[in-house]
């Protein structure tokens, strides 16, 4: 019986989530290898089109990880990202892909454990939802269930 192995794209701000991912790696924290990280200079760089393209190209879930509210290196990028994520959720609902496959998270650069936790949280959520309606993939990748962060 084949197992669903969700593909998840995470747009990670360089100043927080991306550094947190690095930290998670240095701390040897395990997080699921389903996550494809895309480094962005600020979560505010993420726009609706980038999110939609990720789904169109095969992602089962997408999340944007920016700095804690009030802590954006560029002041308001994470607030802008939040609004765009909400708008993209609406579009995903209209298309029938489902806005719940997309989420916005806020964390700081020192939150290595939180980074791993978010990754787990998204993998659990998307696993429950099943593959994106655009993907009829139901394949198993037996040897890559978990990978060590930073490897």
């Amino acid at each position: 019986m084949s197992e669903f192995y969700p593909k998840i794209v995470a747009f990670c701000c360089y100043y927080c989530a991306y550094s947190a991912a690095d930290l998670a790696g240095s701390m040897r924290l395990q997080y699921p290898s389903n996550i494809r990280l895309v480094e962005v200079p600020c979560s505010g760089r993420v726009d609706v089109l980038m999110i939609l393209k990720a789904f169109e190209k095969g992602a089962d879930g997408v999340y944007v990880a920016g700095c804690l509210e009030g802590d954006c290196h560029f002041l308001k990028g994470n607030y802008r990202a939040k609004k765009r994520v909400l708008y993209a959720k609406k579009i995903l609902d209209e298309i029938g892909i489902g806005g719940e496959r997309l989420e916005m998270f806020n964390l700081s650069g020192s939150s290595g454990p939180r980074f791993a936790e978010i990754a787990e949280e998204m993998v659990t959520r998307i696993s429950k939802l099943g593959p994106s309606p655009l993907n009829s993939r139901l394949v198993s990748f037996p040897n890559c269930k978990d990978a060590t962060a930073g490897n």
Binding site: D47, V48, L49, L52, K53, F55, E56, I91, E94, I95, G96, I97, P133, L134
Partner: protein, 223 residues
């Protein structure tokens, strides 16, 4: 600028349901400025349409192009290379003018992706408001630079009506009464006496009632 807003997604989906390959044309003019029909909006709509159709098992092919403007023939020329035989229809994100210019130029079925709303301006990022009713004979010099046609819900020329209360319009209490705005401004400039003059009925033949309007400038014609 001309302010437009995308039609509901499912309406657009319905309008292209028979098509297998469409040309989606954006406009770099007003609708790009009001963030409804520029290059990025073309990309978002195209992606959403493709995904929706793929999900239904009826894939849609899209070709995307954004012209500097859709309301000038020289930019319309740029479309020639895109309007190929296999394009089933053209979806325009221009205002109503753009849609018509495409329809006049090419013998392809053209569909508007937008509802063209009004002539207005940006109040804040993400907020646009109507300012001019394109009446063809501007009377702003009589009203302190505030348009009674648009800012008064009843387009009164001799306002306010009896429904003006505490500066708000009786049609919607969230709306400023246009005539209160006019009165306050005229008072500020010491020109209240101008408001005592009765404004005669407007000649609407200079507006929409006179058929499609045209402006001709012999001095700038090149042929």
């Amino acid at each position: 600028m001309i302010v437009a807003e995308n039609k509901p997604f499912h309406d657009i989906l319905g309008l292209i349901e028979d098509a297998k390959k469409i040309l989606i044309v954006g406009c770099g003019g007003c609708v790009a400025v009001c963030l409804s029909g520029g290059e990025k909006e073309v990309g978002v709509l195209a992606s959403a349409l493709r995904m929706s159709r793929k999900k239904e098992g009826n894939p849609l092919e899209t070709v995307e192009v954004t012209l500097p403007r859709q309301c000038d023939p020289e930019y319309m020329d740029m479309l020639k290379g895109y309007v190929k035989e296999d394009i089933d229809c053209i979806l325009s994100l221009g205002c109503g003018v753009g849609v018509q210019f495409i329809a006049e130029r090419f013998s392809k079925w053209v569909i508007p992706a937008q509802n063209t709303k009004f002539a207005g301006g940006t109040i804040a990022h993400g907020i646009w408001e109507e300012r001019c009713g394109l009446c063809g004979e501007c009377i702003l010099y009589k009203t302190g630079g505030i348009c009674p046609i648009i800012r008064c819900s009843k387009s009164l020329l001799n306002g306010p009506c009896g429904g003006s209360q505490n500066g708000k319009c009786e049609v919607d209490k969230n709306l400023d009464c246009g005539w209160q705005l006019i009165y306050d401004r005229m008072k500020k400039f010491g020109k209240l006496d101008l408001l005592l003059k009765i404004e005669p009925p407007k000649d609407w033949s200079k507006s929409r009632d006179g058929g499609p309007r045209k402006v001709v400038r012999e001095d700038v014609k090149i042929s």
